[in-house]
């Protein structure tokens, strides 16, 4: 921190402070559609006075009366306004100009959008920060066409993932996130620092990133210091949320496996004498973790807690519904996001310092995450030609209490408890008292009255308060850049970049619960160092222009980790330390190094600024590849034609204001991980003092090559009616060949997998961006953007010469496999499905009413057909309203929650009346049961009333019943903000914006609501399945932004 403050002082001294006696004029900069334009430059005509607007377009400037303000911004034609006597006014920029619009492209190079031969989509800081979310992935939902956000439960910490243009490779490649040229992690960006975010979707745009670009690139440019008077901006957010959706539970029957009550039978051999009085009392089947028990009719019974010593011992309580027991377990969440920025600058130096503090909690106790991010960016003009600039970011993250996701047997996933194995009548308030005065912990799931240890489930409060995980991260990333203008047209830079993460964490299973107590701890360091140079040359020759970049990069990646875990329990209960391990603790250490060297060049030739030819070349040399064959070249080439520049007809241009056609081809690769060329013997679990070893089962190909994806893309950008309607359309086909795969092999060969180059995966589809300004008036503007994309990713080939026809991507808990199979879509589910009689279309059943089923059937693909979103904003005077909708059509996932909601009799569909008007849970012999219409194996139609528990239990293992459609349509963000005309009253405050917003306000449609699942936030990071999904959280917040 001391270093920060001293650097701050230096920068403050370097900057020149503007001085003026003028009055303050403030207001907001918008585009012709009324959208706020961030960071526009406002200058007083004829003077050197100038300021930059903030992210929401707010500005304030010192100017004399009747001065003329010039407002300009990249991508717009500048406009001039006479301020007269006003002290508040809004400035409107001229038409968005395709001639001018600048986008940041690979290597951080700013280019006019017109010249780009491929599609790229920019998300403005104001769109990104509509509700100031904590991570990039949720900030992008619905905002980029062709980008599918693979969300994560909003009731857990952690970030989602994104998938760009379908499956780029068999294993599914992730995009990289590049902040000012440095590759960072999703969670390491202070979104308040972001100026623009651009998504480069395919190899034709990302080829210059070589092996890293195969999954697409999310390019982030941060705000830099500007030449202006020192300014301070404070941005403060407070948000409160609550669980918005739970499964539709039944509240008619309680825990147990039978509706008949068990009764207490006094046995003097095992029971204390005073228990004789309990003879005949009704008992719940305490050990049951399902809800097929007696009716919740208020019958007096002994609850599990009545067997623990204390005031409740011996009490009889009514067996009654507690419909809100799960709801009452969840608490409000809190999210705070406070940011302060100091910025300014003069002729010699500019600076920007920011500090961001984010705190959040989950909807249950004992959880907290806090992020602190410090950023300092500055540039010093050492001489007119030499500039030294630097961006340094430091992050500290502390996190406690997030829950395990997926199906586990240790009770660490709390949603799995409530939604899969639970007694519906449990009183959650009773459970809050979880400590047993006699030692250990109380649970609802005791083994028997004389053995109050947990049978299968610990008390959920024990889990939360006693058995939790923590983790911490310290990350430093950024760069130091030295740039020199060698000649008028030639500029060169050398850059040092680093991104180093130190991390650690621990976890505990508390002493006294169901599982053996345990403690584990880990810590490590990962990161990369980059040494780069980049030279750029720009020159025009008459009608021709030439722009050329040449660069090189040496990268060193490293990973180190040490971990340890106790084995056999803790020698001192409650002492969470490795030294308390009863048996020899398990330890692990890992180390990996990787280097890659690259040279690259990129150039553009243009003719009369309407025809552009673009190319890039990159050569990578990788340490992970065989030494004799470690060099790979990735080219791209493209063309852009702004054909409307050839037309000189005003009438035509009133309709088609701008038109551009583009075409591009590019290739990128993906490398091996380090140490994948040589088999190594694993060290196994020792037997006493005898070490063990395991022979390697992975077979390596010493001649392995990087895999290649090549992409063809064509597209058009059209603007109609003076830019009131805009259209950007891309059509692409991407072929991933020579995939580097650990292909599973048959175990009898003595191997588990073989690393080979194999296969062809073809991903094709289109992306569409449609912009419209349906309403545009003096004080009101309404803007809409539609993002829509379709993708199909098919596995054309694997290594059929070796008879390798499928690649296993994953297996759902109690569910089907997810495979990449030759001839089928990527991410196809292969599992067991119900047998259907072809003639009648009815299920084939046996005489008991059980469904017959067949294994190894195709159950559909995880990949959606369509993804997209709608962004809309309405601006009226100082008010502004914005909303983001996101949607997905198609795509399947396997729901383990649904499986056990039914299996365990928790869901409301397991109760009710059958067509005879009798409760389905009654025995079929008295008219109950679930009606099953089907045909017998010989084709005879039949109707069977099946006992409910057998019916729902019998669905287990027939996977098609639990394949769910992941389609959804949701309002993911909404915000109303008001620019307070504060300059009317004070000069200290330059601007003040107040907004209220909602995050995740409305899941408008989804097929899985009844199971309590929001398909946009599946826990599995590739959206294949959920094993015990945590519930979604809806939150509301208030944000105040003040500029001084």
């Amino acid at each position: 921190m001391r270093k920060f403050s001293s650097l701050f002082t230096v920068l403050m001294m370097l900057c020149t402070i503007a001085f003026s006696q003028n009055r303050t004029v403030s207001g907001r900069v918008t585009d012709a559609s009324g959208n706020a334009v961030p960071f526009a430059t406002i200058t007083v005509k004829g003077t050197t006075t100038g300021v930059a607007a903030d992210v929401d377009g707010n500005f304030s400037i010192e100017a004399p009366a009747n001065a003329v303000l010039i407002v300009s911004a990249a991508g717009y034609t500048a406009s001039e306004t006479n301020i007269g006597n006003q002290t508040t006014l809004n400035l409107t920029l001229g038409a968005q100009s395709n001639l001018q619009e600048v986008v940041v492209t690979a290597l951080g190079i700013s280019r006019t959008k017109k010249s780009l031969p491929y599609s790229s989509q920019t998300v403005s800081a104001s769109e990104l920060n509509k509700i100031r979310p904590a991570d990039i992935s949720s900030a992008l939902a619905g905002k980029v066409s062709g980008l599918q956000v693979l969300g994560t439960p909003s009731s857990n910490f952690g970030e989602g993932n994104v998938r760009i243009r379908g499956a780029a490779s068999l294993t599914g490649a992730n995009p990289i996130y590049v902040v000012d040229g440095t590759v960072v992690n999703l969670n390491s960006v202070n979104l308040d620092d972001v100026e623009t975010l651009t998504v480069l979707k395919g190899p034709s745009a990302t080829a210059i990133y070589g092996v890293r670009g195969s999954g697409g690139v999310v390019l982030i440019t941060t705000k830099k210091g500007r030449k202006k008077a020192p300014a301070v901006t404070i941005n403060s957010l407070t948000e409160i949320g609550n669980v918005s959706m739970l499964p539709d539970y039944q509240n008619e029957y309680g825990g147990g496996y039978s509706q008949d009550w068990e009764t207490f039978e006094y046995n003097p051999a095992v029971h204390p004498a005073e228990w004789a009085a309990f003879e005949g009392q009704k008992l719940v089947d305490y050990g049951a973790d399902e809800s097929w028990g007696p009716k919740l009719d208020g019958t007096l019974h002994r609850s599990a807690y009545s067997w623990y010593p204390g005031d409740k011992f011996g009490q009889l309580t009514p067996f009654s519904p507690n419909p809100d027991n799960v709801k009452d377990f969840y608490e409000n969440t809190i999210r705070l996001n406070n940011n302060i920025v100091f910025e300014g600058g003069g002729d010699v130096a500019v600076y920007r310092l920011s500090y961001n503090n984010r705190v959040s909690t989950l909807p249950f106790p004992n959880t907290r995450k806090e992020d602190n991010i410090f950023s300092i960016r500055g540039a010093v003009n050492v001489s007119p030609k030499l500039t030294i600039s630097s961006n340094i970011n430091y992050l500290n993250i502390q996190q406690k209490g997030d829950r395990t996701e997926g199906y586990t047997n240790d009770g660490q996933n709390i949603a799995q408890n409530f939604n899969q194995w639970w007694q519906r009548q449990i009183d959650i308030n009773e459970l809050k008292d979880y400590k047993n005065p006699a030692g250990g912990f109380k649970t609802w799931n005791i083994r028997s009255p004389i053995d109050a240890r947990p049978a299968y489930w610990d008390n959920v409060y024990y889990q939360i308060y006693e058995s939790f995980r923590r983790q911490w991260q310290n990350r430093t990333y950024g760069d130091i850049t030295v740039s020199y203008d060698i000649l008028k047209d030639l500029k060169a830079s050398v850059i040092f970049r680093a991104n180093v993460l130190n991390y650690g964490g621990d976890g505990r299973i508390a002493s006294g619960g169901l599982e053996l107590d345990r403690y584990n701890i880990y810590n490590g360091q990962t990161g990369e160092y980059n040494y780069e140079f980049l030279a750029e040359y720009k020159k025009s020759f008459g009608d021709f222009g030439w722009e050329q970049f040449v660069g090189g990069n040496m990268r060193k990646d490293f990973r180190r980790e040490n971990s340890a875990a106790t084995v056999g329990g803790l020698s001192v209960p409650g002492l969470y330390s490795i030294t308390a391990s009863v048996d020899r603790p398990a330890v692990g250490n890992s180390w990996s190094d990787y280097k890659i060297n690259s040279l690259y060049a990129r150039g553009t030739f243009d003719y009369k600024n309407f025809l552009f030819i673009d190319y890039s070349l990159r050569n990578d040399w990788s340490s992970a590849l065989p030494a004799e064959d470690n060099s790979y070249l990735y080219p791209s080439i493209g063309m852009s034609l702004a054909f409307t520049d050839l037309i000189d007809n005003a009438g035509f241009k009133n309709v088609l204001s701008f038109g551009k056609l583009r075409a591009a081809y590019g290739r990128v690769g993906s490398d091996l991980d380090p140490y994948q060329l040589q088999a190594t013997y694993g060290l196994g679990t020792p037997y006493g003092s005898n070490p063990t070893m395991g022979a390697p089962t992975t077979v390596f190909d010493p001649n392995i090559k990087p895999s290649l994806s090549s992409e063809y893309e064509v597209g058009a950008e059209l603007q109609f009616f003076k830019n009131r309607i805009g259209l950007d359309f891309s059509l692409y086909r991407k072929d991933g060949v020579d995939q580097i795969l650990p292909l599973t092999t048959t175990p009898s060969s003595g191997s588990s997998s073989v690393f080979i180059n194999a296969g062809l995966i073809r991903s094709q589809g289109w992306d569409l961006i449609l912009n419209a300004t349906p309403v545009q008036g003096r004080d009101i503007r309404w803007n809409v953007q539609l993002n829509l994309a379709k993708n199909e990713s098919e596995v054309i080939d694997l290594d059929t010469t070796q008879n390798l026809r499928s690649y296993l991507l994953g297996t759902a808990a109690f569910g089907p496999q997810v495979q990449s199979r030759v001839g089928e879509k990527w991410g196809t589910y292969i599992g067991r499905t119900q047998r259907i009689d072809e003639k009648t279309g009815l299920p084939v059943i046996n005489s008991a009413g059980a469904f017959l089923s067949d294994p190894n059937k195709n159950l559909g693909s995880a990949l959606p057909d369509y993804t997209g979103g709608i962004l809309t904003s309405v601006d009226y005077k100082n008010f502004s309203f914005g909303a983001t909708f996101s949607f997905q059509k198609g795509g399947q996932f396997f729901s383990t929650s649904k499986l056990f909601l039914l299996y365990s009799g928790l869901h409301e569909s397991t109760v009710g009346l059958n067509d005879k008007g009798n409760p389905v849970r009654d025995d079929p012999s008295v008219g109950g049961g679930v009606r099953v219409d089907g045909v017998l194996a010989d084709g005879t139609p039949t109707t069977v009333y099946r006992e409910a528990q057998s019916y729902y239990g019998g669905l287990f293992g027939i996977h098609n019943f639990f394949m769910e459609d992941a389609s959804f349509f949701k309002l993911s963000e909404a915000r109303v903000s008001y620019n307070v005309p504060v300059t009317n009253w004070t000069k200290t405050i330059k601007n003040l914006n107040v907004s209220v917003f909602a995050r995740n306000p409305w899941l408008i449609s989804a097929n899985t609501k009844t199971w309590g699942i929001d398909p946009s936030e599946l826990e599995n990071d590739r959206a294949f399945y959920e094993g015990g999904q945590l519930p979604p959280v809806r939150s509301y917040g208030l944000n105040v932004s003040v500029g001084f």
């Binding site: 496996y257 020199y484 060169a492 140079f533 070490p691 175990p747 009898s748 060969s749 293992g957």
Partner: protein, 487 residues
């Protein structure tokens, strides 16, 4: 201008120099790609220990003990209703068998043999590895039938090994066991032998006892060969007393604990099965207290779990008899090959006339039979001379030539308690004990399985060979009879 260019070039040189230090060319990375925390060469004694840790997996399967109806499932009865058919031999091939193959390769290749003598003399390592490999294949072929053998374990050299006929596998296993037993030399004994402490005499007896059991297993399929191998193994010397039984000692630590101990840590899924307990009670078996615990609900009697119910509703966990606590301590040993099993094998051989005379020798058979019972009682710690004498005197137990094989089989069923796969194998061969598939079996023919189906990986990844084994052996179903089970 020129000066500025020079200045800048110097700057580049200095900055880039930091990065390029120690790297003469863009294309050279020296040993960056060598993992400092992993070994590319094996330590053969550690491979051996690793393989030996898999021995218990051959005898402690819950599914095997369910097939043999030693135990029943308390809550989820899928296995008792024979729902699952595909079982994976994956871990055996990729685990112990691969380790043993590497030991054989490194000790038989003249280039590498001198580098691995730290694990014992090459001959002794080869002998132990071959015997163990034969033992694991014996276990595998008994469960699945025809399996990859001659082309197996070649890794990248053959990713799609063919399936060998069980008859050919048995033939080769007899040869391997004989050759290996003769291979021990006087050099350094094997290291890392947590099972038999490198003792060649014990290993030779292990090989012979295994060969004896294997030989009797041919009683249905090829009795002529069986008889020859049987007499050969017997004359080479087999174990006869409980003290000689081949036990794998578990340790009182999580990493090396008894599997049954682990199964009872947080769950209560298994209890002694009702048919088994009924039989034990019908012969007043003194071993019951060792084989089962009394229910914890205060019931003074042992209660068996009904076998193969569709639903166990109404049967409380604490109302039935779990497996005897003495058999599921954290460090309870497991018997890999037991003397009682060998003695009952000898008894059945004599009863079948697998001797020099070629006629049933019921005197010798009866002798082996009662010794088998005695050693079994010793194994379970319930032996005392008086109760033993009373037990064998009962007409239901006493040896009778007319139903010799049935009687031997029932006693063998008890002696093999919890080594379900072997008990199941002997049931398939002899038809005893008489087992009922239970009230609601889900197997294809409603009967108890007679083999296990292959891992689906073979169908997915080794299709041609998989199809051809279906041609020769029959459908990949649990009711297909493997060669040694064919009448």
């Amino acid at each position: 201008m020129k000066r500025q260019i020079i200045t800048f070039a110097t700057l580049i040189a200095v900055v880039m120099g930091v990065g390029f230090t120690g790297c003469t060319k863009l294309t050279e990375f020296e040993d960056t790609n060598v993992n400092p925390y992993a070994s590319t060469v094996p330590v053969t004694q550690n491979l051996l220990t690793g393989a030996l840790r898999w021995l218990p997996a051959t005898v402690n399967s819950d599914v095997g003990a369910i097939y043999a109806q030693h135990i029943g499932e308390v809550q989820y009865t899928d296995a008792s209703r024979f729902l699952g058919i595909n079982f994976a031999y994956t871990d055996f091939y990729r685990g112990p068998l691969l380790n043993l193959q590497k030991i054989i390769d490194f000790n038989s290749n003249p280039e590498t043999a001198p580098t691995v003598v730290g694990g014992g003399s090459n001959a002794n390592q080869l002998a132990v590895a071959r015997i163990l490999k034969a033992y694991f294949f014996f276990h595998i072929t008994n469960r699945w039938g025809d399996v990859p053998y001659s082309e197996a374990l070649q890794q990248g050299d053959n990713l799609t090994p063919k399936f060998d006929r069980q008859q050919d596998i048995y033939t080769d296993l007899f040869k391997e066991l004989k050759e290996a037993a003769d291979q021990f030399d006087s050099g350094a004994p094997v290291e890392g032998d947590i099972f038999l402490n490198g003792n060649p005499d014990r290993w030779i007896k292990f090989a012979n006892s295994l060969r004896l059991i294997m030989a009797l297993r041919l009683s249905k399929a090829d009795p002529a060969t069986g008889k020859i191998e049987f007499m050969d193994a017997k004359s080479d010397g087999v174990i006869m007393t409980d003290a000689e039984s081949f036990r794998y000692q578990h340790l009182a630590e999580t990493a090396n604990q008894n599997a049954w101990y682990a199964r009872y840590l947080t769950r209560f899924d298994f209890a002694i099965s009702e048919p088994f307990l009924d039989y034990l009670e019908s012969v007043n078996d003194p071993r019951i207290p060792a084989l089962a615990d009394k229910p914890t609900d205060g019931n003074a009697n042992y209660v068996g779990m009904p076998f193969g119910l569709a639903s166990t509703t109404g049967i409380a966990n604490n109302s039935i008899s779990y497996i005897g606590s003495g058999l599921r301590e954290q460090d309870s040993p497991e018997v890999i090959i037991s003397a009682p099993h060998v003695l009952f094998t000898l008894a059945e051989g004599e009863a079948r006339g697998w001797n020099a005379a070629g006629t049933p020798d019921h005197v010798a058979a009866a002798q082996y039979y009662v010794e088998g019972i005695r050693e079994s009682m010793k194994q379970f710690g319930t032996y005392d001379a008086a109760s033993f004498a009373a037990y064998i005197a009962q007409p239901e137990v006493a040896y009778t030539p007319a139903d010799a094989i049935e009687k031997i089989s029932y006693q063998r069923w008890i002696a093999l308690y919890l080594n379900g796969y072997e008990a199941w194998m002997e049931w398939r061969r002899t038809g005893f004990p008489i087992l009922d598939p239970g009230p609601s079996p889900l197997s294809i023919d409603g009967e108890i399985p007679r083999r296990q189906a292959y891992t689906t990986l073979e169908r997915d990844l080794n299709l041609e060979n998989y199809n051809s084994v279906l041609q020769s052996q029959g459908p990949d179903e649990v009711n297909t009879r493997i060669w040694i089970d064919k009448p």
